[in-house]
């Protein structure tokens, strides 16, 4: 461990490499986390299947590559498919738990996560997969820092997607209805907004966002049926740290988490990457508790 830390001091460019990798992947974490925050804020459902939605998107891209189609083209397809999937899940499950206590939705989506990951496992097997995009690798700083072009492409796409979502939420009718429902569902209902449809749309849109994130992940990293839970936990870490309805906070926390993971993976070893994520979750939650206690309150 100390060797690795001293390596970071001796070779400062390594820091650049880790930071860059972290930020590029963190942007995609932020995307999934934004979806979680959206659903959480509007429907008050904490979706523990969030990460599994991401992985589903990844497998759609993977299927594209096996068919000989470029995975980037999977992006719109995955979004549409996942939107439909999200809508169905809303009707089948979420609509029944939305009014219930929070643990119900948490556990129901946990069951959903189990179903998704096991089904993926049955279809694709437990091996790690990647959606090969065929882009080049750039060599920066005289070859000491490498950067896969696809990561840049993914970053640009993630940014575009985020911008589209923001514009959609600000300008479209549905976007306004969603924001009104998030603020006060009862008032929105009285104003004539069909809140049930808003909930369904929000949940489906979240699934679509996750699907897109998954396509990007599958191109720049690896996917595996059981990786979903760590994306769910990542999303929770980010949202808990940033708070609901705080898009800049979500982006910063996402990038920060990405970087933190890269550094800890380098310093402690790759097998501690997952431990880092859950460790950060526990830390963030503890910090929030201390913060709230000062206000004579609890984290709820």
């Amino acid at each position: 461990m100390w060797d690795n830390i001293s390596l970071l001091v001796i070779a400062p460019l390594l820091n650049v490499q880790l930071l860059m990798d972290g930020v590029l992947i963190g942007a995609i974490f932020a995307l999934a986390a934004y979806g979680l925050a959206l659903v959480w804020g509007v429907t008050n459902v904490k979706n523990l299947a969030q990460g599994d939605f991401v992985i589903m998107g990844g497998y759609i891209a993977y299927v594209f590559t096996t068919l000989g189609i470029h995975p980037i083209l999977a992006l719109p397809v995955a979004m549409v498919l996942m939107f439909g999937f999200g809508w169905i899940i809303y009707r089948l499950i979420i609509a029944h738990v939305i009014e219930r206590d929070l643990f119900t939705s948490l556990l129901a989506t946990f069951g959903l996560a189990l179903v998704i990951q096991q089904t993926l496992n049955l279809i694709f097997g437990p091996d790690v997969q990647i959606a090969e995009s065929g882009f080049d690798i750039l060599f920066l700083f005289g070859g000491q820092v490498t950067l896969a072009e696809i990561k840049l492409v993914a970053l640009v796409l993630a940014g575009l997607l985020a911008a589209m979502i923001v514009i959609f939420m600000k300008t479209s009718r549905m976007g306004q209805a969603i924001r009104a429902t998030a603020q006060n569902a009862r008032a929105a209902k009285i104003m004539g907004i069909d809140t049930d449809r808003v909930y369904a749309f929000t949940f489906a849109m979240n699934a679509a966002i996750c699907g897109a994130a998954g396509v990007l992940i599958s191109m720049i990293w690896v996917i595996q049926p059981f990786f979903g839970i760590s994306y769910s936990i990542r999303s929770f870490v980010i949202v808990t740290a940033a708070g609901l309805g705080n898009l800049p906070g979500v982006i910063i926390a996402g990038l920060g988490l990405g970087a933190a993971e890269q550094f800890s993976g380098f310093v402690l070893g790759a097998e501690f990457q997952q431990a880092t994520v859950v460790g950060l979750l526990v830390l963030v939650l503890m910090y929030r508790q201390i913060q709230m206690r000062r206000q004579r309150r609890v984290v709820s």
Binding site: G111, L114, A275, V282, R293
Partner: protein, 360 residues
């Protein structure tokens, strides 16, 4: 009338308990081929009962109780090996070192291991409790899930206890059959002890208070209840028995490793929750019933599901939570409240009323 119903329910309960006791003692002799499965049933019952202390009776839904199971397993392993050998050396050899435990060493080590597991896990509960008891609702569930996953990961990276490749447990000094019986009865007794202990603590102030925390914690605080103290004790009780079960299970399996055996967060860790919900959380018998049904269902159908078991399990969780959350006993309680000692009509308490009103 209510008194009669109560008496009848009490009689039923006593008969039920006697039948279960008889089954527990006779089972390994009646169904010797299934000794291990029935032993697992007792462990499952213990799981569901201990989860329900916090989850059902107190409304704190932990997704990380499996932590104490795994911790108990490892504590006991370290103690058992540590009393005769250097643990680090033993684990570094990855099972190449075979220690011959004398009979006395084995049993004494095992007994010490169980005690250490129980005490250690109770301490853990107090420590982790102080870390997570400021969390409510979903944050508590996710926080405990995080702690349990982190524990598995950390143990997996800790060479002293063998890291990801685990520890071979001391070998039982005896034949296969006495070994099976020995562990069977340990499982049975630990589940029985859990049940009897919980029946006792649920009969007084403790249950009323943790129910109050579940129903309205803010009000409980406003009445000056020592909520934190109750939470720590409740989790401590769960940890105590889970630690014991972990110590027993590790020895029964014979080989322990962090992810699949000791900290299986998404399998056994979730089974606990599902079993309690299935039987009816917040009741004493619900978890017992739920665990029995779940275990039976699982053992019987598992092989016929041709690889789709886990999908079926996930679906069961969803259906259970979404459409049948009150569980079997909860449903029965709604339907026939008088059987559960809930007074529904006023006649009984109103008898002395008329006279008093006349006097007023």
């Amino acid at each position: 009338m209510t008194a009669l119903v109560k008496k009848r329910a009490g009689l039923g309960s006593i008969l039920g308990q006697a039948a279960i006791l008889a089954f527990g003692v006779a089972a390994p002799f009646l169904f010797p081929a299934y000794t291990f499965q029935i032993a697992m049933l007792w462990i499952m019952i213990l799981f569901a009962l201990t989860w329900d202390i916090m989850g059902g009776q107190m409304g704190y839904n932990s997704l990380g109780n499996i932590l104490f199971f795994g911790a108990g397993m490892y504590i006991s392993a370290v103690v058992q090996i540590g009393i005769v050998y250097d643990v680090a050396e033993y684990t570094a050899a990855f099972g190449a070192i075979k220690i011959d435990f004398t009979e006395a060493q084995y049993y004494i080590g095992f007994a010490l291991g169980i005690v250490a597991a129980a005490v250690g896990c109770t301490l853990f509960a107090a420590i982790f409790g102080s870390m997570v008891f400021g969390l409510r609702g979903p944050y508590f569930a996710i926080g405990t899930l995080g702690v349990a996953i982190a524990a598995g990961e950390l143990v997996g990276g800790w060479d002293y206890v063998g890291g990801g490749s685990g520890i071979s447990m001391p070998v039982f000094p005896g034949d296969v059959e006495p070994r099976a019986l020995f562990f069977y009865f340990l499982c049975f007794i630990s589940a029985l002890a859990t049940f009897v202990f919980l029946r006792w603590v649920y009969s007084g102030r403790f249950k009323t208070t943790i129910n109050a925390i579940r129903d309205d914690e803010e009000k409980a605080e406003a009445m000056g209840i020592h909520t934190t103290r109750y939470k720590i004790v409740a989790w401590g009780i769960a940890a105590f028995f889970l630690g014991i079960s972990g110590a027993i299970f590790g020895n029964m399996i014979g080989f322990i490793e962090p992810l699949e055996v000791a900290f299986p967060t998404v399998t056994l860790g979730i089974f606990m929750v599902v079993m309690s919900l299935l039987g009816g959380k917040g009741t004493l018998w619900g978890p017992v019933l739920g665990a029995t049904l779940f275990h039976l269902l699982k053992e019987v159908t598992w092989i016929y599901l041709l690889g789709w078991q886990w999908v079926a399990l996930g679906t069961l969780i969803i259906v259970n939570v979404v459409f049948f959350q009150q569980g079997i006993l909860g449903w029965a309680q709604d339907k026939w409240p008088q059987f559960f000692g809930i007074v529904v009509d006023e006649k009984l308490s109103a008898q002395g009323a008329a006279a008093r009103e006349a006097a007023e």
